[in-house]
């Protein structure tokens, strides 16, 4: 039997200009109708680039050298124009904002078919069908800019559907979304897949969100070669340890099960979803004792810290950040109401809440990015409302969501020296401190490079470096893992853990509640500009205050809170708190990637994930 050939990639390799190697270097794929294929691989393995070759954007719109061949509906993608290929393969990008061309939702969906000279009545019919499928038909007259992040990404999916292409390629469609947005997008995608008329190629790190709709998994290694391929359960559950060794992330349920296996919990098959994990655990009569009792006072989460900073020690000092009765108005709207908050030395305090809850406003007020009213904020002994900007910058570092916003100079070294020059530090001392930070952050080889030409992970490290070089004792980060893949996110969090262990106070705004569970010592929950709760992270994550704030439980907590047996396990939120250790040490020690050996501050992401009971790996933006 021969199914009609939709899309075939044959030993595809891509080399970007100015790069030495091919990433991906050798990937083959045969896509069957109605099939959902997930592409996995560590950072830099070329997954996104491969996705772009499937409709010819590489090499037609993005100049690059391509070897091997991509055949789409019998057409050679290397020689057929992108416009022609887009009738057969439709793309959805990570950044939904960057795909909006027109002024209304309806015009946006019509844009593609109109380019293909589809007659107007059929354009409208297609648009209506596509918008109904993603639940946006009622909003057809709206400006795409007023949609939520999840709404804009659903619109992008509708645009792809309206092209009429039988193949949908999605490149990290939820990397920029909050948990509610991720849920929305996958609900829409699930409907599309259920209809069975589209094949999907998905590049996604958030396995917890997508694993239940995937048929087949392709795994690339760090050099961009296809190393594993098979049905989703065979690969993710059957070859879990190999995947970890490759630096590929796993669903949190699978990671939890791997850990529990080490403690003697038998699993016939590794679970992929929270529900499967719950069933497996409920099937057991008894489970081993939990390591630290959940809810008890805990050390600041720090897998790499040699000497963990205890909360008790932090409490001995006065608060480093002290907020009293802070209200902030924007125009006529009050975006923060009467917030009071103390953060002590060596705490990692996460500010959580849905979009528009006031998290970033609070963070910006604390760091003095936007001057707060006088006498409402005290940070490192300064009032941001009065303090000189330069003096404030020495004590409080603010890291932007987009690291590019941080950069003001022309080379990496200048960028690091900038803060010291502003403070008129002697030149030889500047040179020494810059060299030190370059080495610590694995940027020594790039000191003369323009900051914008660094890779994503390097940019993020540099942005943190620029604020730390001046010796800031308080660090404020706005969505530091937004748009980053798991590996880079883990790298950054390991760095933060180390800073916290050294006594830096860290405030972080995030949507990622598994991150909060695994790394934060404290959390503050905001909703509608008010502080709903503030306390140790473990207590808050087990509390229903999250739900009241419109948030979801982090994946592990969501899976375990529904257990029918094992009452003590229902409040576990961190993988670290599960009994058992790293699954198989020997296989994993080899995983330290040579490519990122320069990552100074911490062990490599993979090793950290596993060493810390996969603490870093388990992060997930949403629940599944």
């Amino acid at each position: 039997m021969s199914a009609p050939l939709l899309l075939r990639a044959d030993h595809v390799g891509v080399r970007h200009h100015g790069h030495a190697g091919f990433t991906p270097s050798d990937v083959s794929l045969d896509l069957a109708p109605g099939e959902v294929v997930l592409l996995l691989g560590p950072s830099g393995s070329g997954k996104s680039t491969f996705a772009l070759t499937l409709d010819g954007l590489v090499p037609h719109a993005v100049a690059a050298e391509v070897r091997g061949s991509v055949t789409v509906a019998g057409l050679d993608a290397g020689t057929t124009p992108v416009a022609r290929l887009s009738e057969h393969v439709a793309l959805v990008f990570q950044d939904a904002d960057a795909s909006v061309v027109t002024g209304t939702v309806l015009d946006e969906v019509c844009f593609g078919p109109e380019n293909l000279l589809v007659p107007a009545p059929e354009v409208l019919a297609r648009a209506e069908d596509a918008l109904r499928r993603v639940g946006l038909w009622e909003r057809r007259a709206d400006d795409p800019a007023v949609l939520s992040g999840g709404g804009r990404q659903r619109l992008a999916i509708a645009c792809a559907l309206a092209l009429g292409a039988p193949v949908l390629v999605l490149d990290e469609p939820t990397a920029n979304l909050d948990p509610a947005g991720i849920e929305e997008v996958y609900a829409a995608l699930r409907d599309v897949v259920a209809a069975g008329d589209r094949s999907v190629v998905l590049v996604e790190h958030n396995l917890d969100a997508c694993v239940d709709l995937v048929d087949r998994v392709l795994v690339l290694d760090r050099r961009g070669r296809l190393v594993l391929e098979g049905p989703v359960r065979d690969v993710l559950a059957g070859r879990a340890e190999e995947l970890l060794a490759l630096g590929v992330w796993l669903p949190v349920a699978t990671l939890a099960a791997l850990r529990l296996r080490g403690a003697g919990v038998p699993f016939a098959a590794l679970p992929l979803t929270g529900a499967e994990l719950r069933q497996a655990l409920d099937a057991e009569e008894t489970l081993p004792a939990l390591t630290p009792a959940p809810g008890a006072a805990r050390v600041a989460a720090s897998p790499v810290a040699a000497s963990p900073v205890s909360v008790a020690k932090g409490a001995a000092d006065g608060p480093v950040v002290r907020v009293r009765g802070l209200s902030v108005r924007r125009g006529r709207r009050t975006v923060l109401h009467d917030v009071s908050l103390d953060v002590r030395r060596g705490e990692l305090c996460a500010l959580v809440g849905v979009n528009g809850a006031g998290k970033t406003t609070l963070l910006q007020a604390v760091a003095g990015v936007v001057a707060p009213p006088r006498d409402t904020v005290e940070v490192a002994g300064l009032d941001p409302a009065r303090a000189d900007v330069r003096k404030l910058a020495r004590h409080v570092g603010f890291v932007f969501q987009n690291p590019e916003h941080q950069f003001v100079r022309h080379t990496v070294a200048e960028e690091l020296a900038h803060a010291l020059e502003v403070q008129r530090v002697p030149r030889d001392e500047i040179a020494a401190r810059v060299d030190d930070v370059l080495a610590r952050f694995g940027l020594s080889a790039h000191r003369e490079v323009h900051p914008f030409l660094l890779s994503g992970g390097q940019k993020r490290r540099l942005s943190v470096g620029t604020v730390l070089v001046a010796g800031a004792t308080v660090l404020a980060l706005d969505e530091p893992t937004f748009g980053q893949d798991r590996e880079r996110a883990a790298e950054l969090l390991d760095l933060l853990d180390q800073l916290v262990a050294d006594g830096t106070t860290v405030l972080v705004v995030t949507h990622d509640l598994q991150l909060v569970a695994d790394h934060a010592s404290h959390a503050a929950v905001l909703a509608d500009g008010r502080l709903l709760a503030h306390g140790p992270a473990a207590d808050l994550l087990a509390d229903d205050v999250l739900l009241r704030a419109g948030l979801r439980r982090p994946p592990l907590a969501a899976a375990l809170s529904g257990l029918e047996r094992h009452a003590a396990w229902r409040s576990v939120t961190r993988l670290q708190d599960l009994p058992g250790g790293p699954p198989t040490g020997s296989a994993l020690s080899a995983a330290a990637p040579s490519g990122s050996a320069a990552v100074g501050p911490a062990v490599s992401a993979t090793a950290a994930a596993v060493g810390a009971g996969a603490g870093g790996a388990a992060r997930a933006g949403g629940t599944s």
């Binding site: 002024g103 293909l116 000279l117 932007f400």
Partner: protein, 276 residues
Amino acid sequence: MSLLLDPWAQHHRSRPLHRVNPLALMAAVLPALVALVLVRDLATPLVFLLLATGLVAVCAHVARPHRVLVFVLPTAFVLLASLTLGLWSAPAEAATTPVLVRLGPWQYHLGTWLVGLATSLRLGALFAVALVPGVSATGPDVVRAAVQHLRVPYRVGYTAFAAFRFVPRFGHELATIRAAHRVRGMAGGRGPLAGVRRWAGYVVPLLAGALRHAERVALAMDARAFGAHPTRTERHTVPLRPSDAGFVAAAWAVTAAVLLWAPDLLGGLMPAVPGA
């Protein structure tokens, strides 16, 4: 008062001017604009100013935030500018006209004001006439009309649509860049010079951000078959109807009539402008 229009705002099609093809609107006012540069009397610009403002008031819908701009500003400009423009331009004859204001040895003559008024009326009228297509046609409709009737390539036209979308982005980007510069201790210094330096420092990051965004948008447009064919399906047509030709003909006829008869019929009611 908002100084910017939403280019995508839907106009009230009920008012007749919004149903005229944008190209016809432009063609209709063009002779009047040229004439206003060249005339020198008081009556002609005054008539054009009144006609244009009246036309907009009756036949177009002007959004509330722009009413001051459309109905008050041209007249306010005429009155204000008439006071200042004459100071430089008044010929010697003006000194023989009655004195309006006396401040010690300095005298402001009626002739001085009339000379200024002649110029300011023309500029105010130019402004008012240019507002006719300005308030009647939306930016995207102008672009569509240019694509459909002036052979402007649609790829250029649709890129212009994307350009409209860049405008609000600049505001957000600027706010972020300013915050970043503040955080990085770049906001130091006071006074106009530091201000200029500060703003100059925003130019490159702003453009760089816009260019990166543009590259992403370009990729997304390519992926949606942009430029696949020499033409594309157009759901929003901006037709040229016989009524558009009628509108242009009427406008030209009115322009000609004003130019021919306004100076003679109304000139007698107007004071003589010295030197004109």
